[in-house]
């Protein structure tokens, strides 16, 4: 198993350090405690020691790179030919430019806008705030992109003056926050709903429940299965937009919102189209029950490609769900009244247009056999 060498913190105020040099190269054998290189800040130079015996698999950073404290600068392995873990998130963050040529305030501004110092023209050989601001002013599109790609970077809230306590979010709350942030920043969302006749679905579900003697109505599971069928025959629903290109998923991974106590899950049934109707109803029921018992596996809480959300239980007549990350279609099922129900969908207008959404909703509004 590969062992990382991390960039250490030298000074409390420095979140980045400069790689000065490596004394080893890829493939070299090193011993625990052996000096493999040096790093520096404005105030100090420090030797980097190998934490283990092994072979140098990769030198992630290069001399003169500025790297984040804690990021991986090299990988060691027990064997010389071990695979190198993906360290893309730990790559050098700034520049090969001499650290001393960038003022502290300019470094903060570069970091704020996600800029490399290499892109900025110097003033009298130095990168100052003025130099960075000139660059930003000359490249407004980059500035806009920087702001867009760093949501919240300029909008961190200060705590209210009213007395209170700050509580750490749970894993599920963090997941929901990430979902909402994706919904805010990426898709161009729309919402459409249609009215439909409740009777055909109710009759179809009742027959199956009676035939099988099931305790629970399979109505929602059957409607969700219909979504899987429709997403299979209309793969645009089972797509997302990645960097201006449509990414069409191969499997249909069905996301289904489940309220378990205070927690809202999007439980995911992967490769749902590989099942038949009855097996799907059974698998979704099992998934729902485990979600209610907070026993979902990691793979069952992410990776949805198309989703279904019902708030019928709460007797709401309309709800507009948030799109799960990297999906373009989530069905909104609400309570019916006077024999009529409402089916809606939140969709990504980059992937789907209104006519396609209406067509899909009409297909969902009746059982396939009806």
């Amino acid at each position: 198993m590969a062992t990382p060498i991390h960039a250490p913190r030298i000074n409390n105020n420095d979140d980045e350090v400069k790689v000065l040099a490596f004394e080893v190269e890829k493939g070299s054998h090193v011993r625990s405690g052996q000096i493999v290189g040096q790093i520096e800040t404005d105030k100090a130079v420090l030797d980097i020691e190998s934490p283990v015996d092994g072979y140098v698999l990769s030198l992630v950073a290069q001399p003169d790179d500025l790297v984040k404290v804690g990021s991986v600068i090299a990988w060691l392995g027990e064997q010389a030919d071990e695979p190198v873990p993906d360290d893309s998130e730990m790559a050098p963050v700034a520049t090969s430019r001499d650290l001393g040529s960038i003022t502290a305030k300019a470094r903060l501004l570069l970091k704020k806008h996600g800029l490399s110092a290499d892109a900025v023209a110097t003033i009298n050989g130095r990168i100052t705030v003025e130099a960075v601001e000139r660059h930003l002013a000359a490249d407004t599109s980059r500035l806009a992109a920087s702001n867009r790609d760093a949501p919240g970077a300029d909008t961190r809230e200060t705590p209210p003056e009213i007395p209170g306590v700050m509580l750490s979010p749970s894993r599920e709350e963090r997941g929901m926050a990430a979902t909402v942030a994706w919904h805010r920043d990426h898709p161009a969302t729309g919402y459409i709903e249609i009215e439909y006749d409740l009777a055909p679905w109710a009759k179809y579900a009742k027959k199956m429940q009676d035939d099988k003697g099931w305790m629970m109505s399979p109505l929602l599971s059957l409607m969700t299965w219909r979504l899987v069928e429709v997403a299979t025959t209309s793969p645009r629903l089972n797509s997302t937009m990645i960097n201006d290109q449509r990414y069409q998923y191969a499997p249909v991974n069905l996301g289904f919102t489940i309220q378990a106590g205070e927690t809202l899950f999007l439980a995911v049934l992967r490769d749902a189209a590989s099942l038949d109707e009855e097996a799907f109803v059974s698998a979704l029921g099992d998934l729902q029950r485990r979600a209610a018992g907070h026993k979902l596996r990691e793979t069952e809480t992410s990776g949805a490609t198309v989703s279904f959300s019902s708030m019928e239980r709460w007797k709401v007549s309309r709800h507009i769900p948030i799109l799960p990350p990297q999906t373009s279609f989530i069905v909104a099922h609400a309570a019916g009244r006077d024999g009529k129900g409402v089916l809606g969908a939140t969709y990504d207008h980059r992937v789907l247009n209104g006519a396609q959404v209406v067509a899909a909703l009409k297909l969902l509004s009746r059982p396939a056999s009806d």
Partner: protein
């Protein structure tokens, strides 16, 4: 935990009353032999909550094809199913 038909039925009923209250329904009058889904006191999501609680509380695992009215449709049937599962009936 001492398991008797009466104690199991009482515990399940208390849970049903709690779940029904979430949607504004009162299940305090539920009779032991009433078919729970037919009462309309708790919906499918509430039944899921009930069954998840049933599995966890009594440390049993239910297969999907066991979730039938015959096995679990009433307080009495849920208590009997559990006692059978535990080899106490």
């Amino acid at each position: 935990m001492t398991l008797s038909r009466e104690s199991i039925e009482a515990a399940i009923k208390a849970k049903i009353v709690e779940i029904a209250a979430q949607t504004g329904d009162d299940a305090s009058e539920l009779e032991p032999d009433e078919i729970i889904p037919a009462t309309g006191l708790i919906d499918s999501t509430g039944l899921l909550d009930l069954l998840a609680w049933y599995e966890k509380t009594y440390e049993i695992s239910l297969a999907q094809d066991e979730l039938t009215i015959d096995n679990l449709g009433s307080l009495t049937r849920m208590a009997e199913f559990l006692l059978r599962r535990k080899g106490l009936l």
